[in-house]
Symmetry: C2
Subunit: 363 residues, 2 copies
């Protein structure tokens, strides 16, 4: 069996021990004589997995009793629509902070649902190289909520701390940095995250939301889109994406064993320092477009002086089993995604390669 | 390794050979050094799986060029909302044929989206024991579409042939009988099916729709809910539920190897004949509530004279490794789901058990 260093932006690397447990039980889950893929979602073997994943998430993220955890489908893109459908009633407006492609996507869906305005926009020359300073936010005190994207996979920026929105609920897309940093969940009205970066595979979306917002959500929308439907039914209103939740459960067990979110944050910091260190050492060869105060610790993006060198870099990296380093198709360049399941050793291997590649090509 | 006879209503039995291939590659997919769970959905290894599943579905169901195949998320429940959101414009009305719990659910979601009327309702005393005759349908010739549920898992009824709706598009929820019977796709405007009965695991929904309906769909709804978004992007607009599609792909390979849908239909007929034969042989012991002309070949439901006997039946069945036979929690009784991956041998074992149980308890 071959295993590479996987820098994919998502779906992404998963802990090997979690995959091994999933594999060993694939034909016969816990001695039940069937795969978890074949289990009813209404019977105890799956229910234990489902509740186990919820309870691990609650303890890993210290989610207070004021908030519910939901497992939904459709990824962050579906949340772009579900958030305003649930939380933006007619006559109200929502504030959106535009810091990249995903934030823009969220704004555009909200505008198809109701009234949404831009509270800040850091786009310059078609690019986003930073998140806004608190002073740049023009917040509507009557807004239904303020929406931001915690980490921008594509442009490699990240909020280092979150703005104070007073009594207006803060809604955050944390798809790419949930579980990689400690957060105070009580400060958020709603958090959502597609699982396929840090928490597990694609196919399941984590939603953490204040119970009063869930209960007060709009009732004039289809039942299947209401957060209250999922909350009331422990996310078992209809058939859940059971295998994705099973894999997430196994991943969360590994993350807890690693020491929880505090340990994951420290390791994410160490991993990203390794790569940013190389960028800062040779800033004209490894060109980091992102302002230092906005640098993402989950997705480190950089360019090389020419596209030819970028191609060569990617090809030689791959020859060393360093894969998934190509930047997003819309921006090009190099992107190293450093999600929590990626071993530190993989980043060290990348660092050594960056040294060697620069020594040979930067002269 | 233990494997039981799995009569689950969904998620349900999958072909063992498909599961074995999934298992053997779980840590290293096709020599790429990573799991398919860890693969980017924008790279060739996953793209081949995605397109392979679509192309197998197209050939298995003989889907004509006039129709597109989409892979979505959220199950049939999400389609209950997506169908009217896309196909029911303001000022129009849609017709719903109510033959069970799922059909009712579809109607109720549609009524939250627009105007939907009941074209027929076969409920009697809180139960559904048949689908309507064509003469019972009161169809609106100006309806945006007519919606029906092809097979009712819960009450064990099934349309033997589909009504002629003239120029009004016919929309069918085929979650529980897609791939178990030959259909003329050209007669349908749109077909949808959660995969977790016949086609694969939960987490992915198959949609087969006429291209002109997709293109003419409403544009005033969020982009992520539009069939046109999925069609234009080959269902890769956002991250798909890639593992569910991978498993579905492996399942479809097995179904094709079995001889395709004609062979699956013949086997489904043989399997259901085995169980209905037992019911008809002892109609006062194995009580089949469904009218013969409406009997489902996918889900055979029956009662026993007392609830005590039903409990005893389920317990002794389980002791013989016949599992998943409990009726839906809302109706009770016994239900044998005979989806295409369930081996004939499992149904033969059930038949023998029914004989033995009746010999001992029916006197």
């Amino acid at each position: 069996m071959k295993r590479v260093h996987n820098f994919n932006a998502g779906p992404a690397a998963l802990p090997l021990a979690a995959l091994e447990r999933v594999q060993s039980q694939l034909l016969d889950f816990e001695g039940t004589g069937m795969s978890i893929l074949e289990h009813s979602h209404r019977e105890p073997p799956y229910e234990r997995v489902h509740r186990g994943a919820m309870s691990l998430l609650r303890s890993l993220l210290a989610v207070p009793d004021t908030h519910d955890i939901l497992f939904m489908q459709g990824g962050a893109r579906a949340q772009f629509a579900f958030v305003p459908m649930n939380l933006l009633p007619p006559g109200k407006s929502a504030d959106y902070v535009v810091t990249g492609t995903w934030a823009k996507g969220a704004l555009e869906e909200a505008q198809l649902v109701g009234k949404a305005r831009v509270a800040a926009n850091t786009e310059a020359d078609g690019k986003f190289t930073r998140v806004p300073k608190p002073s740049e936010l023009s917040l509507d005190p009557d807004a239904a909520y303020v929406h931001l994207t915690s980490n921008n996979t594509l442009f490699g920026t990240q909020w280092q701390s979150y703005p104070d929105t007073g009594s207006v609920p803060l809604v955050a897309d944390m798809t790419s940095d949930l579980l990689s940093r400690q957060i105070d969940v009580s400060r958020f009205g709603l958090i959502y995250a597609g699982a396929q970066k840090n928490a597990g595979p694609s196919g399941v979306t984590i939603v953490i939301a204040r119970k009063d917002l869930i209960e007060g959500g709009r009732k004039d929308i289809p039942k299947i889109f209401r957060y209250s439907t999922f909350s009331k039914n422990e996310s078992l209103f209809n058939t859940p994406p059971s295998f994705s939740i099973h894999v997430m459960h196994e991943v969360l067990i590994e993350l807890a064993a690693k020491g929880g979110v505090a340990a994951l944050e420290a390791e994410t910091r160490a991993k990203s320092d390794l790569v940013y260190g190389r960028i800062d050492a040779r800033p004209r060869f490894y060109i980091g477009p992102v302002e230092k105060e906005s640098r993402s610790r989950s997705n480190v993006v950089f360019r090389l002086p020419t596209e030819e060198l970028e191609k060569k870099f990617l090809k030689e990296a791959e020859a060393r089993s360093l894969v998934g380093l190509k930047g997003h198709r819309s921006v090009g360049g190099i992107r190293a995604s450093l999600y929590v399941a990626l071993p530190l050793a993989a980043v060290e291997a990348l660092g050594s390669f960056m040294d060697a590649f620069a020594a040979e090509n930067d002269r």
